[in-house]
Symmetry: C2
């Protein structure tokens, strides 16, 4: 199997973007091409979840190839709910690893704010089980709310812990020019003050407004290539070489209610174990990680399931500051989904963008010192289809 | 690069299917698993185009894994318009060729008859250019109608030639138990008789009702595996071994109007050339082919662009019977999209199902004698993203 490298990256700001969807995918792709100086792309994978439903557009991959004037390169759209981005990276890995292609573009885009929040919530809910969940009016916040309540009861997580995740990730987002939310918050303001009930109302008890990520538009791109190409690019642009060293993916029951223990996220655990095994590293080797905090509780739980902390101790590590920018394992330096935003199809590629930026030492005010190994966890469904990736800087 | 084999196949009847979409994908998958005796599947790719828009369902891949009790196997949905099926097979090829996986299931499903014909037509139209075509009310029949008129003027194709494609493919479909249309037609009845205007009205002049494929529900599956697995399976089930020897894909301008010569289907030409080159065979080596006859004109034009006949001579070959079941190169022995049906996301896998059936010698009354090399052309968009595959029986 050939080794696979990330040779170019690009991203839009995550926010409300009034551009056609194919241009939201094309803009970061052009950045990535410019960065690595490659104009010949063998193949494209386009990550997207909502084009058909929200933007009345199918065959998005063909539109993106045309927008970028990359015909006759082949292209497909990859969909795995909110884990579409990492799924597309993983598929791109196979395309290069197999030797079928040398240079593969993986670009993701979502334009969710083309519809109102109610429609966006309904759209996202279509990823739940069609007969056991969606038909009964389940939404993602409602699933996450029930999950959070169980977790609180079982492991002693409190609303204060949830708020601490939000505060940390908003702080990190303040240092990320591409982040959706540039809004400083404090536990005092969103939980303790008399105005908290108004400023931070319940969305799905016990989850409040600031426990939920925003609805974002956005795009992100990585270009993957063979070792030979990566070495050529590095000679030209003098940037450190980053290799995609581990890929892992696992699924769990589609309906959350069917899980033997609904507070276990077995797909996160399985995907992380596979990725670490392939990369030949341990969780404790990771210097920087992006976890999928669509809801604040998820950052805590994923930090346990991927192996950074023991089960039930993620909130204690958070309390101690171990996951902050200067902590032992900084999590969501980009701001995460909570602060940076969550354009669903692009999110996993945005995570990879942040990790590559960190490993190259290009993260400026949010730079983690001497980050050499990075990790991403992209969470599809409500934990039913999870993709984890490990990246390493090669010195 | 590792060699990749087809070790199991399955298909539903293409028709109106009143089952949940994930079950339409799961049924042929279970057939395929049963056939090859493999219960451990490393990974799934699910081909689908319309779930989000038509069936209010995203994350279909996760639903299919769960329906088949194949968790924790990873899975993604692959979308490339009506070429989603072959795109998923090509992606599955990479997964096995790379060595990441040994056994990969590629299953496709579409449930288009959940909406009425007008909505289905609009849904399919969303694959056109969003700003240059769709927004102005373009539909696929209207694009195909304009294309057909140009082709008639330039190359002397007549309405009679189009009708001959329909008659041939309906004849073949009569011999295929899975085909949507079991309806014998004649050129006399649909073109010459006084009732023809009523029986076969214009859809988009010069295309008539019998020039257009039906709107179908359906699913199809192939299981791909490494050589080692394929040899084990063959020992058990005593079926001939079929290898996926060539994959090719090419794109063209997203808007048809932007093509220098709109009667050239450059993406078909490019995809076929790549697939043949990789397989190390010539078009004249092919014994049986499935081409993407969503409209009758397309079978004629594709038979030229892939290299079976010279440009502008496909209709003459058809006249001579060269493409009939007993001809020099039988085309659409399954009935094609015209007779067998066109559940868009499953179509490319349905084509592969027919070719593998033929190469194994299991096609009964529609068997092509001693078929050793087979070919499929799956046409995405209006020729903007095309995937071609070559299969070979190994004796």
């Amino acid at each position: 199997m050939r080794e696979v490298y990330v040779v170019g990256i690009g991203i839009t700001s995550f926010s409300r973007l009034e551009y056609p969807l194919s241009e939201i995918a094309a803009y970061p792709a052009m950045q990535a091409m410019k960065e690595c100086g490659l104009s010949k792309i063998d193949h494209l994978f386009v990550a997207n979840m909502g084009a058909s439903r929200i933007n009345q557009q199918t065959a998005l991959a063909s539109a993106v190839v045309d927008t970028l004037s990359l015909t006759p390169a082949g292209a497909e759209a990859i969909e795995n709910g909110p884990a579409s981005g990492a799924s597309a990276i993983k598929t791109g890995f196979m395309a290069v690893a197999s030797g079928v292609h040398d240079v593969v573009m993986v670009t993701g885009a979502e334009r969710m704010r083309a519809v109102n929040n109610l429609e966006a919530t309904d759209f996202v809910a279509t990823l739940s089980h069609p007969l056991a969940e969606y038909i009964y009016g389940v939404t993602l916040p409602s699933l996450a709310g029930m999950f959070t309540r169980l977790y609180m009861e079982k492991y002693g997580v409190t609303s204060r812990h949830l708020a601490m995740v939000a505060v940390k990730n908003h702080d990190n987002a303040m240092l990320n020019p591409f982040a959706h939310l540039h809004q400083k918050i404090t536990v005092e303001a969103i939980l303790d003050s008399p105005e908290a009930e108004t400023n931070n109302p319940f969305v799905a008890d016990p989850l409040r407004f600031f426990d939920c990520c925003p609805v974002s538009d956005g795009g992100a791109c990585v270009i993957l290539a063979s070792k030979e190409v990566a070495q050529d690019v590095a000679k030209r642009n003098k940037k450190p070489i980053v290799r995609l060293t581990g890929i892992g993916q696992a699924t769990d029951t589609h309906a959350v209610q069917e899980r033997e223990n609904p507070t276990d996220l077995l797909a996160v655990r399985g995907a992380a174990q596979q990725a670490f095994k392939m990369a030949g590293v341990k969780p404790s080797d990771v210097n920087v990680a992006e976890l999928h905090d669509a809801f604040t509780i998820l950052e805590i739980v994923e930090s346990e399931e991927v192996g950074f902390f023991k089960k039930g101790e993620g909130h204690l590590a958070l309390e101690k500051g171990l996951t902050s920018l200067t902590g032992q394992i900084p999590i969501n330096t980009s701001g995460g989904l909570k602060g940076k935003g969550h354009p669903v199809g692009a999110t996993g590629i945005g995570q990879a963008h942040e990790i590559v930026t960190q490993l190259r030492g290009e993260a400026r005010k949010r730079q983690v010192k001497n980050a050499k190994i990075g990790f991403t966890c992209n969470f599809g469904g409500f934990g039913n289809n999870v993709v984890c990736l490990v990246f390493a800087r090669e010195d």
